[in-house]
Amino acid sequence: MNAFMKKIALTYKLIIAFSLATLVLVIACGKGFLDKKPLGAFNPDQLVNQAGIEGLLVGAYHMVSGQGGAAQNSWGSAASNWVFGSVAADDSYKGSTPSDQGDIVPIETWAYNSNNPYFNQKWQAVYDGAQRANDVLRFLAKDTTTPATARKTMSAEARFLRGHFHFEAKKMWNNVPYVDETITAASKNTNVPNVDASGNFIDIWPKIEADFQYAIDNLPDVQPQIGRANKSAAIAYLAKALLYQHKYAQAKAQLDKLIPPAYGGSGNGQTAGGLSYQLVNFESNFNAATDNSGESVFAYQASVNDGSGTNGNYGDNLNFPNSAGPGGCCGFNNPSISLANAYKTGADGLPLFDTYNSAPNVSAPTSPYTGTLDPRIDWTMGRPGIPYFDWGPTPVNTWIRDPGTDGYFSPKKNTYAKSQQNSLSSSETSFWGPTQMDANNVNLIRFADVLLWAAECEIEVGSAEKAREYVNYIRNRAADTLGWVYKNSDYDAAAGKYKLPALTKAADKYKINPYPAGAFADKNYARKAILFERRLELAMEGHRFFDLARWDNNTGTIMAPALNAYAAAEKARPTIFAINQSATFTPKRNEYFPIPLTQIDIENATGTINLKQNTGY
């Protein structure tokens, strides 16, 4: 080999060396190259401070809407509970055509299976809410920079919300797990049981009470923002929890702290905005322009045109008159003919407790009822011929999607006036049904509700006269002629009233009187009256089913008779029951809904029974 060749050989060696070096270098620099941090998301460490935790708290409040998270936007998790509280009770029909959202039909006719997706939607939404509240507590535990006062308020709001979400679960399913801040995916303990080690159902009422008690002890009376929970709201919620356990004396003690002197009490209940609790104009509770009044104890704060597209009460999105009226779709949640009949009043201006539901029916196309009515009927439902805010008279039939099965009435408490269109209703278009989104709050607790609870307590452990007084505040408010529906006056949406001076032609023959002195002397009569009053006052607000279940208290004596009588009446009317003749409410079973099968499957997957199904399912 000559020198030239040697040089070439050397060159080759160099080349090979360089090539290998290159390969190695590329290998060496590979490490940082593979560390890609997430884009467009917070790293948890960035949130361990007051602003971050405050953000998490707002996120927890968001779930009061029932929308978002794992269940995404769904009607089953609506804040108003319209499917479970109203349709499954005797307030309303599912509506639309029989097959539309067909999963509601079995709920309406008490023929559901545990795999009905509506149950799972609700379950997911409430526990998502509970865990968001827990996130606030978990981050507070890690944080050392937030001032003590802020920590106190934030933790109390979080526990209030956690109590609220568990209350929602408790009233739906009774035997539910309780999820506190120790439950995390990282701890692998998320299959939270509803049974104890011996397989008996756990009762989470004490834990719900503890959350509200903590909130009471740590929340301020007045909050910087009116949508937040305050001390009075926590007291009200604790009272509600006690009432659900029939602990009337304890509930009364809490309620007494709330009822102000103007309503014969000595309490000082006030809203987060500092307004003393009071009964306002009836319709003002169901009007985005006037909600958050002195009557609003705690509400889901709906908002529209805020860039979200869906924060405007998505859960009630189907519950608008069909076609041409407000919304433009979809004719769901039609108030029932029985409900309309319940507003019949006698010559004494009191409800017809036992005979209301026999013919003639209110607003029937042929030979309708012509007697007097409680004026609240026409703020509760769109009724043929009666003005529907400023949309003109409710048309006969055209707002009813399937007249064969949907009755005669349209929902009204969740809808909006024509003059509110695009300001208090959504003008966003980011999803399918924007015109049915509005900023009407969903009243989770309003002062009328509080007064009626107090009346119940007084009957059981207090004074019958006091109970009558409480009920009469409600009835007297309804009797205020300024708050009625009129045919010869324009509707003032900003006030939720018809305009003066021409309030001469009431939309129908309204007659409502307070209960006369001594009327509640008979406790049974008084209970009946209070229960009936709750139905009339709070109709279509998603409470009815849970009130019936609470009163029934697993005796089988109240709820099943009431709902089976309802079904029997409705089977002869143009309603969904006409084509579901077998609909029957089974006592000691249907008072609580079945725990969603999906959750049972997941939680019990490894063989341990964590979630036990409710009795009868």
Partner: protein, 1081 residues
């Protein structure tokens, strides 16, 4: 990364290399290569055996090459000819004649990072006949690939530019199963490739072939090379065709107006109700009105006076008494055009290929189209004998606006054509769109209106992809190669949503305009070093390499609404005003698109931006002894950014071996066997599937719709909130896919028959799954974990027979693909997994993922008949809402009660097999070809029947079956249940086997007759080739399916748990008639 340094090193290598080329050049040999007719062969390769020394012939067939010494052996090769070897000896000038080949054994195919002779391949590689593919008139290569490669199952739709389900050897994932596509060495997307630019396409099916692609190889790999220039004079080629696409003659089997009315009326009567449809009257026989708006008005009604016309309140609309044929209102004949011009040339120093393509497929569905303009430039420069650099560049611009709501969705225009009642005309008396806005006409939408309104929508995409590369031959036996490539993709689309005044639902939604932008890029840098050498009978080839890949995606959108109406008569807005400056700023929204280009961000669709990277090292060794015993091994180590440091790296090995039995001495007596090879292999692949790139992290997000809240209570604003959006998992790693493959390749009967038969087993373990956590864990998106196994087994077969009968030459090629898919296990304790379809969720899930069953298997109640009488109901197991004329379900567990637990698996959408048959024949200057495709044994769900067989489902259109063949007390063996108003468990509210049909089909996808003008006549005009042809595509489809087309893509192509369901699919069986021209000079 220290890329600068690396670049410098490479530059140093490049600079040093010329020195190496001054290698001893002892002898120069010149010569000429011709074919058997003494015509020169341009672009043929002459190489010195066992070295990298090579040269190419020029246009006249001449070559010149340096050889080391007289004992060197020259190898002459050219595509389409048998190779030849000659020792140089003392010759200084050689004339070599090459024989036309009939065997493809020596064909060199590009596989993973390397090229192999077909006969040396031991892995499973399907080589696609690209010429056959090109016969399919479509704008997208994957549609043309259907039936062309054994082992590849493709399901496609007729929508121009639509994507397809591609499955290489079965379903390997619950997520997307799209194979990795490598174009000229760089990962890319074949969807927008110009078919005419494709030189070759190989599908790497088993681990032996694909394991070198490691974590990306689990779904198979499609390796595409595009055309390059060849030595010789510039060659200009033009290929073009124009044709017409014909809508199906028979649409959905929909009843006319009178029949529909009868059925609706009967549905009330059957439930003992007074007929209540406001259009049809309350009598027992329906009265067809003269007008549907005003509701049920008669001629002469004062409100039908045109002067009273008003949108919403009195949109005067006549009833279409004969019935609107909605299907043919939206499907019209449409033109398809393709032009492609290419120029290629080359010499021993450089080659280039340049092409321009124009493709325009107007959809038969109104206002749908795909237009694509593309340019490709591929060049290579031989800087010296040992250094080559080059590039491949492809630029395209595409217009392909989306079909609203997508294909396979009950809300798209095709679905509305079977849902919109025939009594509704297309237009009202003023020429505005008519619809369901009056009463009792259902909730459908006017499909013509929906489509006409997309006319001015935009869908633009422009992309540049390709790579630059350099290759250096080192020493005698080494070649180093570096390639840097990738793509930059920009997409812009926009849509205007009109106020749909004519509809029953949401007819007052404000109009809105949305613009979308999306940016996506990826780069890949690959470096390889190849060694090849021959020592006597030992032939060895080895490769090592490294690869780095980075990916980025970001998309945004903005919306405004309440645009000023410029034509109050029909509420339209001048497209000139479609900008984000018009419309109302209150209620405007903007945001980031999710990873699937949609605005909805939820647990399944996290938001952009996303980024990821992959870094890999790999190697391969191929060894053969005496062309008889072949063995090959590959190994790849991948590191992926989507996993945590500890779980990031993985090894993917494979081993294959082959035995060319025909080379054994004992085989020499079997003269009819040209080649026979037995091969087998084992290897491991991986998949990252569709997991989030941030899977490892706990994440928190802000979202107006998901975490903001109006604590102020002012109704129009919300405080910004934060929510836990993802629970990370540090343990997650890739899916592992182990493939075992055994095959036989044979060339028989003097090259007339070739076939390849393979059996495989593909076991996927550690399936990447997003588990269902208990709701008590909260609403954050659970991370993907590794859990669950799937297995596919199957047989692939391909065979070609070339023959001739006197002057008729013919070839028959068949492919056969089968797979048997089974879910083996799910995450611990999970018994099954239900996932709802995106096409519709009215039934919940259509299928259930459960061990022992195939992915996608249909699960629900099995209909065993209709209840015949009350007596029948009483004698049967208890069933909710049981009644005569309703479905009678199978009591699977025989407990006397129909409940959830009686649901069974009653159908499988996976075919038993699919097959392609390509026939070619030529006689003198005529050629003929036909291509048939069959899918056998796949069940389908005809969801259309949910809408058309049950009038209680929104009262839309009704099928003729429901009208003529529904159950009545006197028609006991009817097919369709009783017409009713009620929706319940025993008719429409649960998924059951009523919707199941046999989806097998045989389709003649293409039939072509061509005539080539004899070359003698062409010479005068300087032409090399002039061929004219006529073609019929989709001439016929044989099937028992009662819907439009049993070939059904999934409603979400990235979800392989729901498919084979007809939600209103754009049929892919429409006939096309084309004339085409191929010209070259």
């Amino acid at each position: 990364m220290s890329s600068k340094l690396t670049v410098r090193l490479w530059l140093a290598i490049l600079l040093l290399l010329p020195a190496t080329t001054i290698l001893a050049q002892q002898k120069t040999v010149t010569g000429k290569i011709t074919d058997s007719n003494n015509q020169p062969i341009a672009g043929a390769t002459v190489s010195v055996k066992g070295s990298n020394v090579a040269a190419q012939t020029n246009a006249e067939g001449f070559f010149s090459i340096s050889v080391p010494n007289a004992s060197a052996v020259l190898v002459f090769t050219s595509i389409g000819y048998e190779p030849k070897e000659l020792p140089v000896g003392t010759n200084a000038n050689l004339t070599v004649s090459l024989k036309t080949t009939t065997s493809s054994l020596n064909e060199v195919v590009i596989t993973g990072y390397t090229a192999q002779r077909k006969k040396d391949i031991t892995g499973s590689v399907a080589v696609v006949e690209v010429d056959n593919m090109r016969q399919i008139p479509t704008g997208t290569p994957e549609k043309a690939l259907q039936g062309q490669a054994a082992g590849v199952t493709i399901v496609t739709s007729g929508a121009p530019g639509s994507n397809s389900n591609i499955r290489v050897r079965g379903i390997t994932s619950v997520g997307p199963t799209d194979p990795l596509v490598i174009i000229d060495g760089t990962p890319g997307n074949m969807h927008d490739l110009n078919v005419n630019d494709i030189e070759s396409m190989q599908v790497l099916k088993d681990a032996g072939a694909a394991a070198i692609y490691g974590v990306r190889g689990s779904n198979g790999v499609i390796v595409i090379t595009t055309k390059r220039g060849r030595s010789g004079k510039p060659k200009i080629t033009y290929d073009g065709y124009v044709g017409t696409q014909r809508p199906l003659k028979e649409g959905f089997n929909i009843a006319n107006t009178q029949e529909t009315a009868n059925a609706i009326q009967q549905s009330y009567l059957n439930n003992g109700l007074t007929p209540g449809n406001k259009q049809l009257g309350s009598g027992n026989t329906p009265v067809i009105p003269d007008y549907i708006f005003p509701t049920a008005a008669k001629e002469g009604d004062p409100n039908t006076n045109p002067s009273t016309y008003a949108l919403y309140t009195n949109q005067i609309t006549k009833a279409n008494k004969a019935g609107t044929d909605w299907f043919h209102e939206i499907f019209k004949p449409a033109v398809i055009t393709s032009h492609n011009l290419s120029v290629s040339s080359g010499n021993d120093r450089s080659t280039f290929y340049f092409s321009v393509g124009y493709f325009n497929q107007q959809g038969t569905l109104l206002e749908t189209y795909l237009k694509r303009y593309s340019v490709r430039v591929n060049t290579t420069f031989n800087l010296s004998n040992k250094i080559r650099i080059g590039e491949n560049a492809y630029v395209f611009y595409r217009q392909n606006p989306a079909l609203p709501d997508g294909n396979q969705n009950e809300g798209n225009a095709i679905s509305f054509s079977y849902r919109e009642s025939p009594i509704i005309p297309v237009y009202d008396i003023k020429g505005n769109f008519a619809g369901t806005g009056s009463q009792n006409l259902g909730n459908s939408e006017n499909p013509v209106a929906n489509l006409r309104r997309i006319h001015d929508n935009k869908g633009n995409d422009w992309q540049i992809n390709g790579n630059v590369f350099g290759e250096v031959d080192l020493l005698k036996h080494f070649t180093a190669r570096t390639s840097f490539g990738g793509f930059v993709d920009n997409r812009y689309w926009a849509q205007f949503d009109y106020t749909q005044y004519e509809n029953a639902e949401n007819n007052k939604n404000p109009n809105a305009f949305t613009e979308y932008y999306r940016y996506n890029n990826s780069w890949t840098w690959t470096n390889t070093l190849t060694y090849s050498n021959i020592f006597g009978d030992h032939n060895i080839k080895a490769l090592i390499g490294t690869e780095a890949i980075e990916y980025y995606l970001r998309g945004i959108y903005g919306t405004r609404n309440n645009y000023p109406i410029t034509n109050a008569g029909n509420l339209t807005v001048d497209p000139a005003l479609w900008t984000l400056l018009f419309g109302s700023p209150s209620g405007q929204t903007n945001g980031n698109l999710n990873i699937n280009d949609d605005v909805t961000i939820d647990n399944n669709n996290p938001p952009t931006p996303v980024q990821s990277s992959l870094y890999s090292q790999f190697g391969r060794i191929d060894y053969n002894y005496a062309d008889k015993y072949l063995i090959s091994g590959t190994l790849r180590r991948d590191g992926s950014s989507v996993f945590t440091k500890d779980k990031r790296f993985g090894w993917f090995p494979s081993v294959t071996a082959g035995w060319r039995i025909s080379r054994e001495n004992f085989m020499t007596s079997y003269r009819w066997i040209t080649d026979l090879k037995l091969r087998g292999g084992w290897g491991k692949l991986g998949s990252i599937s569709n997991i989030n790139t941030t899977n490892a992290f706990d994440l928190y997000n802000q979202s107006a719709a998901n975490s903001f809240y109006d604590l102020i209570g002012d109704n129009n604003s919300a405080l910004t909130g934060i929510y836990a959006s993802q629970l990370g998992n540090l343990e997650t790693t890739w899916e592992e896919d182990i493939i075992t493959n055994v095959g036989i390749d044979a060339t028989l009967l003097n090259n007339r028959l070739t076939f390849s038969l393979e059996w495989y087993k593909k076991s996927i373990s550690g399936l990447l799954f997003r588990p269902q956590l208990a709701a008590t864990a909260g609403g954050a998106r659970p991370a993907f974990v590794n859990a669950g196994d799937i297995q596919n087994t199957g047989v692939d077969l391909s065979a070609t027979y070339n023959g001739d009968i006197s002057e008729v030459k013919y070839a028959v090629t068949g492919t056969f693909t089968s797979y048997n898919n089974k879910v083996k296990s799910l995450p611990e304790g999970i018994k099954y997994y239900d996932r709802e379809s995106t096409g519709s969720n009215r039934f919940g899930a259509f299928s259930r993922l459960q061990p022992g069953e195939a992915l996608g298997a249909f699960y629900g109640y099995k209909v065993i008949g209709l209840f015949q009488s009350d007596d029948d109901v009483n004698k049967s197991p208890t069933q909710e809402a049981a009644a005569p004329g309703r479905f009678k379900y199978l009591d699977a567990n025989a407990d006397g009660k129909i409940s959830d637990s009686d649901r069974v698996f009653f159908g499988n959408p996976n075919p038993n097999f699919t097959a392609g048959l390509n026939l070619e024949a030529s006689y003198k200057n005529f050629d003929f070809s036909a291509f048939f495709y069959a899918s056998v044994g796949n069940d389908v769900i005809n969801y259309v029947r949910y809408w058309t067989d049950f009038p209680q489902v929104f009262d839309g259109a009704v099928s003729k079956d429901a009208v003529n063949n529904s159950w009545t007390p006197t028609k006991l063996n009817a097919k369709v249940p009783r017409l009713e108003r009620t929706a319940n468990f025993s008719n429409t509210t649960v998924f059951n086997s009523y919707y199941l049909e046999n989806g097998s089909f045989l389709r003649c996808k293409s039939m072509v007759i061509g005539y080539s003008v004899p070359s003698a006549k062409l010479k005068r005009f300087g032409l090399d080739r002039l061929r004219l042809y006529i073609q019929a595509a989709n001439l016929f489809t044989i099937t028992k399916y009662t819907g439009l087309d049993p070939e059904l893509t999934g409603s979400d192509l990235k979800d392989n748990t729901n498919f084979g369901i007809d939600f209103g699919n754009f049929p892919s069986n429409q006939k096309n008639y084309l004339v085409g021209l191929n010209l070259s000079f």
